[in-house]
Structures are given as C-alpha cells and as structure tokens.
Symmetry: C2
Subunit: 721 residues, 2 copies
Amino acid sequence: MTSTATETQSAKKVGDQAAVRRVIDQAKRDGRSALTAPEGKTICDAYGIPVPGEALATSADQAAQQAAGMGFPVVLKIVSRDILHKTEAGGVLVGMKSEEEVRRGYDTIITNAKKYNAKAVIEGVQVQQMLTGGQEVIIGAVTDDSFGKLVAFGMGGVLVEVLKDVTFRLAPVTEEESMGMIDGIQAAEMLRGVRGSEPADRAALADMISRVSHLVDDFPEIAELDLNPVFASAKGAIAADVRIVLDFAQKPARPRPSKADILKSMNRIMKPKAVAVIGASAEDGKIGNSVMKNIVNGGYQGKIYPIHPKADQIMGHKAYKSVKDVPDDIDVAVFAIPAKLVAGALTECGEKGIPGAVLIPSGFAETGNEEGQHELQEIGRKYNIRLMGPNIYGFYYLPAHLCATFCTPYDVVGHAALSSQSGGIGMAIIGYSRSAHMGVSAIVGLGNKSDLDEDDLLTFFEEDPETHIIAQHLEDLKDGRSFAEVARRVTKKKPVVVLKAGRTAAGAKAASSHTGALAGNDKIYDDVFKQVGVIRARSLREMLDFARGVPKLPTPKGENVVIITGAGGSGVLLSDACVDNDLKLMTMPPDLDAAFRKFIPPFGAAGNPVDITGGEPPTTYKNTVRLGLEDPRIHALILGYWHTIITPPMVFAKIIVEVVEEMRAKGIEKPIVASLAGDVEVEEASEYLYQHGIPAYAYSTELPVAVLGAKFKWARGAGLI
Amino acid sequence: MTSTATETQSAKKVGDQAAVRRVIDQAKRDGRSALTAPEGKTICDAYGIPVPGEALATSADQAAQQAAGMGFPVVLKIVSRDILHKTEAGGVLVGMKSEEEVRRGYDTIITNAKKYNAKAVIEGVQVQQMLTGGQEVIIGAVTDDSFGKLVAFGMGGVLVEVLKDVTFRLAPVTEEESMGMIDGIQAAEMLRGVRGSEPADRAALADMISRVSHLVDDFPEIAELDLNPVFASAKGAIAADVRIVLDFAQKPARPRPSKADILKSMNRIMKPKAVAVIGASAEDGKIGNSVMKNIVNGGYQGKIYPIHPKADQIMGHKAYKSVKDVPDDIDVAVFAIPAKLVAGALTECGEKGIPGAVLIPSGFAETGNEEGQHELQEIGRKYNIRLMGPNIYGFYYLPAHLCATFCTPYDVVGHAALSSQSGGIGMAIIGYSRSAHMGVSAIVGLGNKSDLDEDDLLTFFEEDPETHIIAQHLEDLKDGRSFAEVARRVTKKKPVVVLKAGRTAAGAKAASSHTGALAGNDKIYDDVFKQVGVIRARSLREMLDFARGVPKLPTPKGENVVIITGAGGSGVLLSDACVDNDLKLMTMPPDLDAAFRKFIPPFGAAGNPVDITGGEPPTTYKNTVRLGLEDPRIHALILGYWHTIITPPMVFAKIIVEVVEEMRAKGIEKPIVASLAGDVEVEEASEYLYQHGIPAYAYSTELPVAVLGAKFKWARGAGLI
C-alpha cells in the first residue's frame, strides 16, 4: 500500500476529524500551542486512542454500568463544588472491583458526603478507570524538518531513556509497520512476556501506534504528541497521559515536480541529443577544457556546442557566444565559468528553453553565498530549468558515453548508478570503479543540491533499463519525506544503497560546517531507511562493494544459506559473518546431509558449514557446489576456498564458473559468493569469479557475506522472499 | 599490579578466610553444594560484603543502638517461639526512622506481645535493616571452563536481563577494574543519577565487586555466587539476597611451564641451529619435499638434516634414517609423515633430546582421533618436547629466514608476528602479507594446539626484539586464564591483536564441529580481552590491516586527534569513523584555529576537521600538516586527500613524507594516517605513504581511522596515554 493510499484511507476511516478540528481551531483562536488535558482526551477519543475511562454518575446503578463499560478496577470520587477535601469527607474509594462494589461504594460516598457537609450541592460521583500493572511504554509523534511527521515507540521508564531504546517510522503507518516497531526495539522481548509474565496485547499497541500516526498525518498542526506512559497489558493498551503541542506556522514545502515532469527533464539531461558547454576552453588545465575533452574523447555521439565569448571553434566543434546563438535545440548546458557569471548564462539557458543545467562552479552556499544560490534557484524555477549542483564535478551517463565532468573519463559500462553529495567521494567512486572494473551506468555529483537531489535521481534510475542498482552518498536530505516516498516505490524494483555520512554527532558537526546542511537524528535515518527498504552502507568501501557485487547476484528465492568450505577456519568466520549480516544458515535436512557426505572425506564436518576439508581435489568442490545448486531447498551458497597444490586458485575459480554455467543452462540460478584464502594467486581467481557473476574476495571472510547480506536485505524489503 | 600480587594481597587483607573455610568445610562434610542463607550471610560478613544488618535486642536502648549502627530505617519484630502470628500480635513495626522511634517501638512491641499472650516467653526484639529505594543491580561470579573465576556486574530487573547488559572480568579485580565494570555497562548512566535522582555510591559498589572477586579467587570451591538484587543508593550498596553454589570437583589444570622453560624451548624451536625434516623427500608434490624446498630455498643458514628411511641425501643434504643417527644436536624436528608414524618418530626425537616438534600431519583430534593426539601429548610430556600442532602448515621465522612449512615461502622481513589456529587462515595471512608487502617476523600455525598455544607464542614474541606487534587468529583458548595473564603482561610492551572466530552462536557451532573446541561465551572474551589490553579485530581483514598498520605508527602522547582534509565529504566520514573507533576529535583552541586559517581559503571550514577545501596547491597540505605536527597540543593527524590536477596523488604523498621526515629530524613524531579519494593513481600514492610509515588507504575513510584507533586502544591499555 502506498503512503498516499494510506492517507486517503485514514481520512475516511481512522478518526473523527471534525472533533479534532474543533479543538485545534479553539486553541488557535486562543493563541495557545499547548492543549489542556480534557482537550487531549477529546482528541484521543476522536481517534479511538484508549485513555482511562471517566464519567459522572448520578445514581449507583449508573455508576456500576459506567464502571462495567470502562473495565475494573475503578476509583469513585465525590463531585461537589462544596467539598474541597474529598478524602477527608470520605468521598474517595479506590480499587472497586465489581458492579456490586461500585453500587455500594456510590451509596457510601453520597452518605459520607452528606454527613460531612449537609448543605453541599452534590453533582454526582466520578467513576474513573484505574490503571494497574502491565508494561509501561511510550508512543509519540514528532515533526522532523526533513522527514515531516514521524511516529515513535519505545519502552517507558528512566532506564530505557538512558538506553535510548526507541524506534521511528514515517507517519502514517500500516498495522504491519506498527507491529514492526514493537518488534524493532531492543527490549521487544519484554512485551512477549518474560519470566512467566503475561504477554502484552501487541495488536492493541500496534493499533494505538497506527492511530497516533494517522492523527498527526491528518493534522499537520500537531507538532508533537506524547502518550507517556502507555500501560500495555494482556488486556490492552491505555495511554495514562496525553501531551499535545501545536504549531500553526507551517514551513513552506520544497517544490515537488510530478514524476512525469522529473522524467521528462531528467531524460533530456542524462541522455541529451545536444550538449552545450558554457565556458568551453581549448586551454589545458582549465575546467572548461577538461569538460570538453571528456565529452569529446568519452565517445559521446550527440551534438556538442562549446560556448565561448571569443573562440570560433573548440576541439573541432563550432563555438557560440551564447546558447541563444545556437540554431538547434539544446538538452543540457554544462557550466564551467566563474560563479559570478553563472546567473547571467543561466538566464540565457532559460530563454533558450534548455531544460537542464549542470552547475560545476563553486562559490555558492558552500562558501556562504546563499544569496547567489538563491538567485539561481529563482531563475531555474522561472524558466523551468532543473539544476544539478552547484559545486559539483558534473555527471557521467555511461550508456550514452557521456562524461559531462571535469574529472577523469570513465568507460566501463555496467549497471550501477552512483551519486555523491561530495566531490571527493565522487573521485573515490571513480577510482574504485576503475580499479575494481565495476560496470557503471551513471555517476552523478549533487553538491549543494539547490534543485536536483537524490529523489530526482531515484525517479530517473527507476525507469532507466541500464541501471540495476542505485548507490547514493549523502550528508543530508533536503526533503527526506519525498526521498522516502520515492525510495519506497523504487526499492520494490531495484536495490537502493545509501551511505549516510554524519552518522555520529562529530560527523554531523563536520557535515554541517561543510555544506550548511543540518544532519538529522541518525536513528531516524536508520529507521526510515529500513521502513522504505533502503540498504544502509556503514562505510564508503561497503557502499562501493555493494554497488559492485549486489547487481551480480540473482535474487534469492528463500532464506536458506549454505556454506561450503575447504578451510574449516573460514567456515567459522563465514558463519560469524552470516549472523552479522542477518543471513540464516540452513538447518541441514538428514537426506541432504547424507548427500553431501558422499562427496567429502569421512572426517569432513556434517551440517552447515559443509566442511569438505583441505587437500581435496577440484571434483569435491564441483560435486558439492553442484549439489548445493541443484537442491531446491538451498537458496544461496557461500564458498570458502583454501589454496592447495591439489586445487590451485584458478582451477577452483574455473571449475566453479563451469558448474554455475552448467546450472544456468538448466535454468538454475542462485546467488553465490566466495571467500578465497591463499597466496596472491587468489586475487586473480577472485577477479575471474567476480567477472563471471560470483562476488569473490581474497583474504576476507566478511566482505563476500556482507554483499550477499545486502542482496537478501533488499529482497526481503521488496517482498520477494 | 599483577594478578599474583593482587592475590597475595587478598589473602592478607580482604577477608576472614578461616570463617569462610569453616562454612565450606561443613557443607562438604554434609555433601551439600548449596549454602543456606545464614551461611551466605556468614561468608559475606567474613569478606565485608554488606548485607542487611540484623540483631536481637533485649532492651529498648540496645535496639536503638543496634539500629543506629546498621542505619535507618529499620523493622522491629517480636522474637518469641510462643508467638507465631507476629503481625496479629502487634509484634511488627516497619519504617522506624530514628533512635527515639526505635526505643518507643521496642516498648510498644513488648507491651503488645504481653497483651496478646501473657504467658509467652519473649526472647527479645529483632532489629532488621530495611532496604529502600536505590537502584537494583546484580553482582555475581561464575566459573568459566577456560578463564576460571569471573566476576560479573549488571543492572537488576527483568528488562536488563532481556537486554543482557552485563559485564565480566577475571577475578580478582582491582578497585579500578571494578569501577571500570560499573562504567562499562550500557546503562552506566543510571548509577550517576538521571532525571534528578541521587547518584549511587559507585565506590561502595566497586568495593563490593572487588570483595566478591577476591572471595571466589580465594575459594575455588565457590563455583557460582549471586548477589541479586544489590540495592545501590547514595548511601551505599547492600546485597539483599545471597546465593552460593559450591563445586568440590576441581578440574585438573592444564600444565603450565615456567616462563623461563617456555623461552628456552621456544628460542630453540624458532631460532634453531639445526633442523631435522622427518619425512623429507626429493619427490615433487610431497609435503616433505615442499618443506625441504622452503627451508633450503628460504635462505635458512643453520644445519638441515633430512630424515628418510632409504635416501642418502636430499637436496644436497645428507639424509639419515632416524634423528638418532644424526651426530649433532637438533633443535627442532619438522614432521612430514603420515599420522600413524608420528608417535614412533616423536619418541625417537625424545630419545635424541630434541626440544621441539612441528607436527604438520593431520589425522588427529580434528578427525576424531583423540587417542592418537593424546599419545603424542604423553610422549611430549615424557621427553619434555614442546609440540606445535598437529594439523598445521608449520611456521615461518623471518629473521632466521626459516620457512618450516609446506606452504609457499615468504621473505618480507618485518615486525608483525602472526599466528592462526586454522590452516586456511594461515594461507590468507601469507597471501595478504605478500600482496600488501607487509613486513613479518613470524607466521605460526597452531592447529589442534595439543601443547604449544597462544600464550607460549606471546611469551616468545614478548622477548623477541624483531617482533613489534602480535596478531593471533583463534577459535578457542585451551587455557584462557593463562592466556589472559600472559597477555596482560605482554600488552604493556607490544600491541596484541586477536581475531576470535566463533563470535556468534552459529560461528561457535561451526568452530566446535571444526576443531572440537567449545567456543565460550563471546561477551566473556570481549570483556577479558579489554581487561588485559588485547585489541580485538572484528574481521580477518581488520586483523591483517592492524598487523600491517599499527607497528608503523609511533605511540601517541595524548588523545587529541585532528583531521586535515581537502575533501569536506571525506572530513564528515572521517569524523564518523573517529567516533566509531573511540578517537577524540580535539576541540580546536582559537589561536590554533587562527593559525590554520592563515593557510586555507576564507571559505575553508574552521574547527576540526580542518577543511582546506579542494583545489588547493601542495603547499596548503604541507603548511597545515606541518602546523599539525609542530603544535604540541595535537597528538595525531588524519589526512583526507582529494585528487586534483593541482595536487596530484604522488605529489601529495611525497610532500607529506617530506614534512614528516623534516619533523622527525627535529624529534617530532606523531601517528598519521591518510585516506585518499581519487582515481587509481591514489593506490600508488597510498602504497608510497604506507612504505614511509603512514598507513594510507585508497577509497576508504574507515580503514585508516580503524588502524589509528587500534594504536590508541593499545596505548591506553598499556597506560601510555
């Protein structure tokens, strides 16, 4: 279900919106941002969020009936403006456990009250539900600058506050998502009943989370909401206290073009028929020269229009003084001119009707020149030009052999689309890709993200048949909500890997001084990425390894992973890595175990890992891997190779590729990764395996398993396993 | 303070051993393994472990005095065998808060009792300390098969049990170590006072932990001890409940030769004057042939005696039928014969007086042949031969150019001594070392560890001047206690890195099927490693990177780390990595900030990271790095390089090495690591930096910082910073 569908539903079904609207409007008229307790209760009632029942009874029978309705035990309290000291007057009775007790209690209280003050005007008796036992939890909602409304769930109490055991999701959430929140905290086990205690009614909790999420989604004015504590017991969940803070000053939404508009512009920018290079130069060392060289020598087949105030031609291409002088249509203009000239040239692009500008120049927001950047945004919006940058290296789109960048050219065409907010990271992407022969569809610099950002790229790459995986380095999200909504859709089709820099407080501080971006609470990023199926890379290398390896692997059809290893020691480390990467080692069925045993020495280990032992000939690897591929109960293989004279590295690599291809011919495809332990020849063997679709690493047991783990994470998020 | 010193002290000072001995002896006589509550209290009293005070008073004044002694509030209870229902008799008063109250309470109780039963014989009034408030914690002790007595500390309550927030240390512990335990749990903040609550008396808790640790250390019969809960408040710590389990069946200790004996044998094994190769062969493809080739071609300068039933000479060396036929002394015999022949040949080695046997052959415990391995152990003990293996690749000792192994030879002499329990991991060590040009002093296979194990190697490498760092892969520790005691000493001099495989339950299962080793509770390994200063590697690559990088770095003189980066994006990721690796980013003093600013563009970022911005010439790197080295307030530098035309990779690398050498000539040495973002030329530049003492990585922001973090961890553990 998409977010939009959920929203529509919520409007129809979840709450009594009119009742909430009345409360909020009253507060607005009063100029209040905080709501009173009765107002809080009204809102909870309107959205079916259970709060302790309370009612005024004017007869013993009515009190009994009310108490039965809200559930026992209850507290009874005299209500009379003439009786201030209720307890002294014998006007309070706690722990009434049955209708009968309530009936008698009612009478006792009235009698006591009359005894205490014969003249008192008695309005009745308040019946209040008593909250006892159960587990204290917290349900809340906050408004994040980037992600908007988020619902939160955690265990209650000081201890958990210290441990920060809380989880967030974009609001609204489905019941399934809210159940995921309840299972997603560290202390989740507490609610399933520990040490013989009764399990809490998790469905009731999930329902409450979901209702809160719809409430804040329906009413943007609700800036903060806290149900703290909520008592969760086997009988249900009740919020003992409600705190609501309103904010009537809504911040302006970042403009969001439609998907169709994004695709229209992005297709022209990434796959242009004609490119203008503003500031093209024939002079070595100039950025405008590097850009021209990269476009021309990179093999781009479209039209190239150098723009230069004086030159007649540059690198064999006729030059123009302005884009407006070019007789043809232009799809994208690459800027390689000083910052102060950008606005003027951009206006000319607008007048020419160019839909995209690649703003390489620096000297804007990153140097404090917010005004200059704002000016570019205004021009972009006026003329409907999408802006990439400023302060970027440009972009590569490999299927079109287009290197619209001042960096070194790149030509290994493949299926990974990468982007980076930072130029340095962009250079690392290029270097790693070249070194690892990683096939790439695109590399894009986003820099200051004055306009185009990660969700625009996601939208384009989603539809780009050349792209099979999207990997993005980012320090902030200008519009996290939009990113999340697009990512939720895209991750159903293609893996999206994100390296979110500024994870730590120190990192976030560095990020904010670097780009002026305010790095959000990292836990929110973590939770939202999981919610929308984004795979989070923990390091630069991990992002790069995932981008390289994940698209090589076919999608697994189930969770059963088997390790086949020649080195028992690797088997142990590979098992550790499986746990670290949420992979499930298959419990080996006896018949399959027996089948494997036929191929391995009698002292080889049973079960999983299948330890074929060192010193085995190539056929042992071949037979066991073939069996692993053939048996439909196994969904993925991890191979641990041990360099021996009997089975040298390349012999191993070739025999594995042979088996895999033999099986592929029979229509059997499963993800396989390999860890190679041995002398330096294992590097060549790993490379051979990698080039044949088997992510393989020398001297590492953790990297191949991390790559496999990423594929599984994606497949689970996309609902494929 | 060494463990032995602590033990001696404890015997003298901590507890009344005679009192505890009496209780334990009585239990032994009774055939009981569990102690009664009063026995538990006696033991606690003997070791000064506070339990709730209780005493019998026979006068109001005495009761008041006793109460004052144990602290208020107290409970008073009538003591009379004639009064069973104390409360009914008015014989119980709780919450007595002063001497006066106690005095009056005493009289009230006696009066009530007499009223209730005039004939009752009244023994007096029991005064019992009441435990109120404070934080519940758990202090305990367990006996681990490998590590022996361990003391444990954690927060109390079900929730923390669910979160498994508990920490262990080898007993006994110093007060400093026990304070470290209190600070070492996730919920540590709870005891420092949160939300305005009073902080607990942490010193009292630390004292209690320390006393428990001495108690279990003094009495090996105490198998388990639980103080649960302990109430910790501002006023102190009191154990509300004591549970003690005894075990009189002590397991036999693994033999532990003295340090002198270990060194004597190990020196002859690792640096032999004469080596015998039992099963030496001239035939290609045989293990005995590979071993001979490696020893001869590896450049070993000592005497080589091939042992072969028939051959006269092998590879130019005179062969003998038995080691007993060799006219000279032999220091070490390398076995390359089938398992069934090993015992016989080993006996001959014993008769010859050879102190060391390198048992390459497999076919022992790892294949279920426990008996065969036991036979070797018996022979070894009988003749005082130290056994390496069986089931190993052998060993390398590079300073002697000795490759006593059937694997490929290795000749890059350096200062890292590595070992592995598994042969596959050994091959990965060799491959990585060769690929990374890692200088090595030794690589040792330990295999089944029938005799020689990690602590024997630590003892040798501790004294080996050629070894500057020790890195060990292991799946279990046959004698964790001995390892920890040796490691505690060695880590004061040299970094010790351990990759403990079988971290996870799945990994441990694989480990146990692989070597028959029972992998221990991983949290215990984690805590004990920290306690004794061992750096734990989380992955194979990390162990290898630490072994390569850590010895390159000089020891830091303080905690202040500064990042200098050309790529702001790298700065953010490097900051994240600092937090991940427990490194402290220095808060930049204004004068130093101003000094850096002089060298960088006006829009470069202030503070730390020092963002010199991209596109700067080599002098900017040079000036800022020089300043970073010169200023004594900075203790370590992390460099982030961004590949540009203005400062190409090798220009950067050379200029950095130049500055570092210039400073070194002035006596200034600080650890520096570098992260290089750029095209493939950064690989060569990284290698150049590495070879010049600056651990540098291409396309990675996390690896260089992890290496620096490992150096800091070691320096902290060794008390150097």
